[in-house]
Symmetry: C2
Subunit: 504 residues, 2 copies
């Protein structure tokens, strides 16, 4: 049926197509049906909403989200027809039943995700089937390339291209906010794209966004990186492996992160960015994604093997993830701590040790530091202020204020502090509980929300001493976070008295 | 935040909550977020759409679907707050990882589905996890009762209450359109609720809807059944086990039907209807849900065992499902064939044999026919016209025209007939292919769409003789069905010449 577009100031992350009831009846369309939209140039897919309030017969209302991705002008004539069941649903079911998927089948699923032919139900079934039945290395390599090639690719005129990625799971991991400027200050090229938080309280993109714009175009990135050697941007704004941004939504709702999809998600972006040397940080510890060394090694092998198939040289660092990195968890709190560390060249041991360790490996991989000397060189770059200078360049190029001071950063002003009910030593900080509290407080969407830890594992505390403070931007969120904190045991304190035997 | 309701003439099957961008920013709500809506009396959940076109700050737009289920008046003051992640997501994940769910966990999932706290992503993950990991009998019994008790229950003042259900999968199975009037004509009580098609081209409710209203209230059903002993209605209109109608949507999109969920779906409705004697029809054959006798027997045992736990007496009939029942597939085509058979007392052998066989078992279970005599009695009731008289009563009570003639029923007038390319015997009719063709033609939503089979297995055909006709209501759908038919081999013809040896 031929219809006239009407642009609606309506926003949903779905591609909604508003039609009048009369047209719906005529075209045999029902609410939530998938429709195919044909213009002279392209074929798109969307989901039907019956709307008699705004839409006259003969009109088709398109939501903003549609228009963000595809250009339409008011009054453009388009053709809409019901879309049948996408072929790729069969391949999703094949994976449900545990079969190995062929190259064309994986490509079909990814293409249909990018084309929006698959919606929440199918995408959720796909990620759930992957979580349960997994993917082998052939499938993962195909998935990675398919995800990269259905999006844009970057070609930077510098060599070698370095990259670093933390698989996440450890709260407060603002490490790459230090690693990137250190590596770039040494003259290497590192166009860092990051994702937003999936199950954590803040991804590097969420943290960087506190200081500068992270939604840059590929052209802007190319220009910036060719000029100053680095950037820290959000991959999701880039149409790099766009299927990933869609599947991540379902993963986030379900709080799952299937291994094959995680590998493909990370490596497809590296592949699309043209990275040649990739360092993967696998935090290991209780309450993070990888809890033991066997699992960490197995994952490391997968990354290295996948890199080989993609023509990339991959190294893996297994790092300590038993408690949060530094003291802060949540976008603004983490940005503040990272900035303080860059300015002073000093900061919490857990943050500085990790950042210089990872940066050191990259300096060696990139050939600017002799073997075994990378970490020392990284520390010198940090302490000398060169890393801070590079970070100022990055912030400035990304449209932020390079002279921003840590105290300028807005932290959620609705706060609640938990104090020690008894004195003793901090024996454990529960990563999952801290993440849950920060998320309940509103992180990562509410930038100022999160948790500030006044103590770390091994420290001695007195009764009544503050342990951690929750920051939120609204009272409702603060309440939710307090409830979450009371339900769990985020910080465990044990007295040193292990045994006390009576007066025999 | 306190807001004023505005009723919107917008229809989607989701519970959409439209708010202005300004309020969204203030309440930290984002598109597609889950929100909790509190009125003086109840707490509801919905999904955020940002709408600056219709909604002013301070207003909250509610879609029709919301209002169908919950009453709101224009201008009512309600409170909305962001809803956190529902607890039941954890239990869904537990099932993903293969664990057995506890009673409270299953109850929590079902309650959250009914309350609309879980949406497509979570529900799809749930059905996918069930499809892969299954449920044991404890879980199924709990699920069944939870599904029944979160909805309405019927209490009919007649005894015994009979019920029949086909688990479906065989195309053209309009059998219960005959069984119900036969059983009721013998004086038994049979309040038949059916579902619409899940993966087939027509459910009994879709077929009956061609002749009468199937969306009745529980009060109307009680009145009708107490008066004439029978009804054939759509369970989905009834708020009987409402969770089922929601999960079925995801199952339909994915074309899956996990066993535990199927058992609970069927039996929860029988439980809610107060049925005491239940006959389950399990069609068996190539291309239906149950392909071999071991599987049929295992399923039969599950039904009987589940019935015991629910206090119901269950018998199971394993029936021939190797090809479609009768000649017609699709709501209107099937209604026509059922009506012709009821009027004349005669019809296609596959339909009459099956209907009288099942009705006979019910007559024996209900104690109105001596053991071994049920089928004979059922056939007499059909041939005598008593079944047709009862069907006319049912149609009339359900607001249809009891004097409707088969030729009055509107069949899709966009048709295409496939003819035999070679002469020979029909050796196979592919159930799945026939279903796919009928669905591509528009069934079950388009009532007149479907497939009419001119031949059945074992018949001899000549070259050029019509094999089957596709009926559709639109050219687009007809085209799609023709493509589907060409891609498959719906009817296989083989010559009788098995070997031909030259003139030696």
């Amino acid at each position: 049926m031929r219809m006239k577009t009407k642009l609606l100031d309506v926003h949903s992350s779905r591609f909604l197509v508003f039609i009048n009831e009369k047209d719906a009846r005529e075209t045999k369309l029902h609410p939530n049906d998938l429709v195919k939209i044909e213009t002279g140039k392209k074929t798109l897919y969307g989901e039907v909403v019956i709307d008699n309030a705004n839409i006259q017969p003969g009109e088709i209302g398109l939501s903003k989200d549609f228009l963000t991705v595809h250009n339409f002008s008011q009054g453009e004539i388009i053709n809409i027809v019901p879309a049948g069941t996408p072929e790729s649903v069969r391949y999703i079911k094949k994976k449900m039943y545990g079969a190995k998927l062929k190259k064309v089948e994986i490509e079909s699923i990814i293409k249909d995700i990018v084309d929006r032919k698959l919606r929440d139900i199918e995408i959720s079934a796909f990620v759930t089937a992957l979580e349960i039945n997994g993917l082998d290395m052939d499938e993962i390599a195909t998935l990675t390339v398919a995800m990269a090639e259905t999006g844009d690719m970057l070609d930077i005129d510098r060599k070698p291209i370095m990259d670093v990625h933390s698989i996440g799971g450890v709260p407060g991991n603002k490490t790459n906010m230090l690693v990137v400027p250190i590596v770039a200050a040494a003259g290497l090229t590192i166009p860092k794209t990051s994702s937003r938080a999936i199950t954590s309280a803040a991804g590097t993109a969420d943290v960087m966004e506190v200081l500068a714009d992270v939604s840059l175009s590929l052209e802007e990135i190319k220009r910036i990186v060719e000029k100053i050697g680095a950037c820290i941007v959000w991959g999701g704004a880039l149409n790099l492996a766009p299927a990933d941004d869609i599947t991540i939504h379902a993963e986030r709702v379900l709080s799952i992160d299937p291994r094959g999809l995680m590998l493909a998600s990370i490596m497809s972006k590296k592949y699309a960015m043209g990275s040649q040397y990739v360092l993967i940080d696998i935090p290991m510890g209780k309450g993070v994604k990888v809890e033991n060394v066997e699992e960490a090694r197995s994952l490391a092998r997968d990354f290295i093997e996948l890199g080989k198939r993609l023509g990339q040289y991959v190294e893996v660092a297994i790092t300590y993830g038993g408690q949060p990195v530094g003291h802060s968890v949540g976008p603004a709190l983490e940005a503040k701590e990272a900035l303080e560390t860059l300015i002073s060249g000093k900061g919490p041991g857990s943050l500085v040790e990790k950042a210089t360790g990872l940066a050191g490996i990259l300096l060696e991989m990139g050939g600017v530091a002799p073997a075994g000397m990378g970490k020392k060189m990284a520390r010198e770059i940090l302490e000398s202020g060169k890393a801070y200078e590079k970070m100022k360049e990055i912030i400035a190029e990304q449209g932020g204020d390079p002279n921003i001071k840590p105290e300028d950063i807005q932290i959620g002003d609705k706060t609640f502090t938990f104090a020690a009910e008894t004195g003793g030593y901090v024996t454990q900080i529960d990563n999952k509980a801290i993440t849950t509290i920060a998320r309940q407080a509103g992180a990562p969407e509410d930038k100022g929300a999160g948790v500030y830890l006044h103590v770390k594992v091994g420290e001695k505390v007195k009764e009544g001493q503050p342990l951690f403070t929750i920051h939120a931007e609204s009272e409702v969120r603060l309440e939710q976070a307090i409830i979450a904190a009371r339900r769990s045991e985020p910080i465990r304190i044990e007295g040193m008295v292990l045994q006390r035997i009576g007066n025999i």
